[in-house]
Amino acid sequence: MRISAATGRILGRLGGAARFAAVVAFTFLGLLAITFFIGRVVPIDPVLSVVGDRATNEVYEAARKAMGLDRPLVVQFFAYVWDVLTGDLGQSISTGRPVVQDLIRVFPATLEMATIGILIGVLLGVPMGVTAATRQGSFSDQIIRVLGLLGYSVPAFWLGLVGLAVFYAGLGWVAGPGRIDFFYDGMVDPVTGLYLVDSLIAGETEIFWNAVSHLLLPSFILGFFSLAYIARMTRSFMLDQLSQEYVTTARVKGVPEWKVVWRHAFYPIRIQLITVIGLSYASLLEGSVMIETVFSWPGIGNYLTTALLNADMNAVLGATLVIGAVFIFINKMSDVLYRILDPRAR
C-alpha cells in the first residue's frame, strides 16, 4: 500500500510536469503565431527592403520566391516555426549578420542591467513598503510615498540625463555611457555575454570594476522605477494584511511585533509580491529604450528600436520573440513559486 501510494504520488508529479511542459509549449506556439502574423500584417514589404525600390519586376519576383513568400501562409508559418526551433531567425538587414547572433550579443546587455535593477528594486522596495505600512502616516511613510509618486511620474530619460550630468560629468563617481570603457572593449572572451561574469571568469578585476562603474547609474535608475512600484504595492498589500484577524491573533499570543510584521503579515503577501516583482522584472528585460538610448547601452531595447526604424523585419520579429519568451518564462516561474509558497494553491 505504501509503495503504491508513493508511486502514485511520483506519477502525479510527472503528470503535473508533463502538463506544465505542454502548457509552456502551447503558449510558445501562440507567441510564434502572433509574431509571425504581425510580420505579415505590418505594411512593410520584406522583399522590397531586401531588393530595394528600384529593382525590376523579375528581380522582385525571384527574391520573393527565394524567400519563400509565394507559398501558402500556413506552409510559411510551419516553415517559420521550424526555423525558430532550429535556431534560425534569418539575417538582419541592418547589421548583415544572423539575428540570433545579434540577439546573443544584445540580450545579455539588457539582462545584466535589468537584473541589477530588479535586485535594487526588491532589496530596497520591499523593506520600504513594509516600513511605510507599519508606520502609516509617519514621516518615513510620507517620504516613501513621495518616492513612489516620483517613480510613477518622472520620465526615465530625464532622470538618466540628470544622473549623467550629476554623477558622471559633475562628481565623476561613475563611468559614462556604454557598457565598458572603449579600450577594454573585446578584451575578455564573451562566455555568457554578461560583462560582470565574463570579466570574473577571465580574472580581470580591473575590467570587472570598470563594468560595474558603467552599470551602476543606469541600473540604479531602472532600479528606482521598479523600487517605486514594488514599494507602493508592498505598502498596500501590507496595510491589507495588518488589519487581518490572524495578525491580531499573533499579537494575542504575545508574539514580538517584528515577528508579527514579518512572519504573520509578510509571509502571506510574498505570493502576491512574486507577481508584482515578476512583472516588473519582465518589463525591465523588455529593454528600457529611453535608458538604453541615453546611456548608449547596446541592449535589446536599442536593437529593437533601430531595427524598427530600418524596417528590418527579421530583427524586429527576433527581438519580439525573445521578449515574448522572457514573459512566458517569468510568468511560468512565478506560477511555480506560487505553488511552492502558497499551501492553498497546492
Partner: protein, 281 residues
C-alpha cells in the same frame, strides 16, 4: 481566593470620529475571581471592545482609560508594550471569533500552536512537538500528528476553533477571554467547543470571560453575567438569577427569546424607549 484575578473600574474606550469622540465602552466596572463571567449584549454594545482593552489591543486612534485595571496585582494601564507582550498569551489569552480569519492561512496548525508556547518558553523542537500534540489531544482532535501538519483551509470550522483553543491554552494562562467563540460555527458543534473550553478552564482553575450575544449559552456556561448595552453595563447578576433580571433591557432580551414549548406568532420587538441610557440618541 484572597485577591481577585481581575479588577476593572470605570473602563472607558473612546474612538474619535468626524462627529467628535464616541465612547464605545463607558464606565464599565467588574471584578473577576477564578470563575466564569459572561458578558452579553447585542452587536455594538461594546462587549468585544471590553475584552480587547483588557489585553490592550485597542490600537490608536482608539483610547482606553480606566481608574483601575489590575490583573493579579499587576497594573495593566502602567505596563509598557514589552511588558504587555509577556502577559499576552502567557497570562491572559483570547479566543477569537472565526477560525476562518483568525488562523494564519500560510502556517501549519502545529506551527501556530507551537509558536504560542515557544514565544514564552523557548524549548527544544522535540519537546515542543510533544507538547503541541498533547494539547491537540486535550481539545479532542483525533490523529493529532496528521492535523498538526495541516493548513487552516484544510480543516473544518469546528476543528479550527478547537485548534484556536489549543493555541490559546497551551502556555497555560490564568485568564481566558473567549470572544464569541462559537458564533461562526454550526449549531451542532457549538456545544462541543464550549464543553472543551469549560472543561479545560475549570480543570486548570482559570478565570474565563465569555463574550456572547446568546443569553442561553452564557447562562449555561457562566457563574455570573454582565449585560451590556450601548457601552454600559446595565445588569449584573448570578447566572441562575437571570430569569429574575430587573433592567428593562435584560427583560426585553429575555422576552424576545423563542421558547421550545410555545407557539408565538411574532416575537416581541425590543422597546428601547422603556429605559434611558442616554446613548445613541
Amino acid at each position: 481566593m484572597t485577591r481577585p484575578l481581575l479588577e476593572i473600574e470605570n473602563l472607558t474606550v473612546t474612538f474619535p470620529t468626524a462627529q467628535g469622540p464616541i465612547e464605545v465602552v463607558r464606565n464599565v466596572s467588574f471584578t473577576l475571581g477564578r470563575e466564569r463571567l459572561g458578558i452579553v449584549g447585542e452587536s455594538g454594545s461594546g462587549k468585544s471592545m471590553t475584552g480587547r482593552s483588557i489585553l490592550k489591543l485597542i490600537r490608536p486612534p482608539g483610547r482606553v482609560t480606566a481608574d483601575r485595571m489590575v490583573f493579579d496585582g499587576i497594573d495593566l494601564a502602567a505596563q509598557s508594550d514589552r511588558q504587555m507582550r509577556h502577559l499576552r498569551g502567557a497570562r491572559i489569552s483570547m479566543i477569537m471569533q472565526d477560525p476562518k480569519f483568525s488562523l494564519n492561512p500560510v502556517m501549519t496548525v502545529g506551527a501556530q500552536i507551537g509558536e504560542a508556547l515557544q514565544t514564552h518558553r523557548p524549548m527544544a523542537r522535540s519537546e515542543l512537538q510533544a507538547r503541541v500534540l498533547a494539547m491537540l489531544e486535550a481539545v479532542r482532535i483525533d490523529g493529532p500528528e496528521r492535523v498538526a501538519g495541516l493548513y487552516p483551509h484544510q480543516i473544518s470550522g469546528g476543528m479550527g476553533q478547537r485548534v484556536m483553543i489549543a493555541m490559546m491554552l497551551i502556555p497555560e494562562p490564568d485568564l481566558l477571554i473567549a470572544d464569541e467563540p462559537t458564533s461562526a460555527l454550526d449549531v451542532s458543534v457549538q456545544a462541543q467547543v464550549l464543553d472543551i473550553i469549560e472543561e479545560l478552564v475549570s480543570g486548570k482553575g482559570m478565570g474565563l470571560i465569555l463574550i456572547s450575544h446568546d443569553l442561553n449559552l452564557v447562562a449555561r456556561y457562566c457563574d455570573r453575567i454582565l449585560v451590556m448595552n450601548s457601552g454600559e453595563v446595565v445588569e449584573e447578576c448570578v447566572a441562575s438569577e437571570l430569569a429574575n433580571a430587573t433592567h428593562p433591557y435584560t427583560r426585553g432580551l429575555l422576552a424576545a427569546m423563542p421558547r421550545m414549548n410555545e407557539d408565538r406568532e411574532e416575537l416581541p420587538v425590543l422597546d428601547r424607549s422603556s429605559w434611558a441610557t442616554g446613548a445613541g440618541t
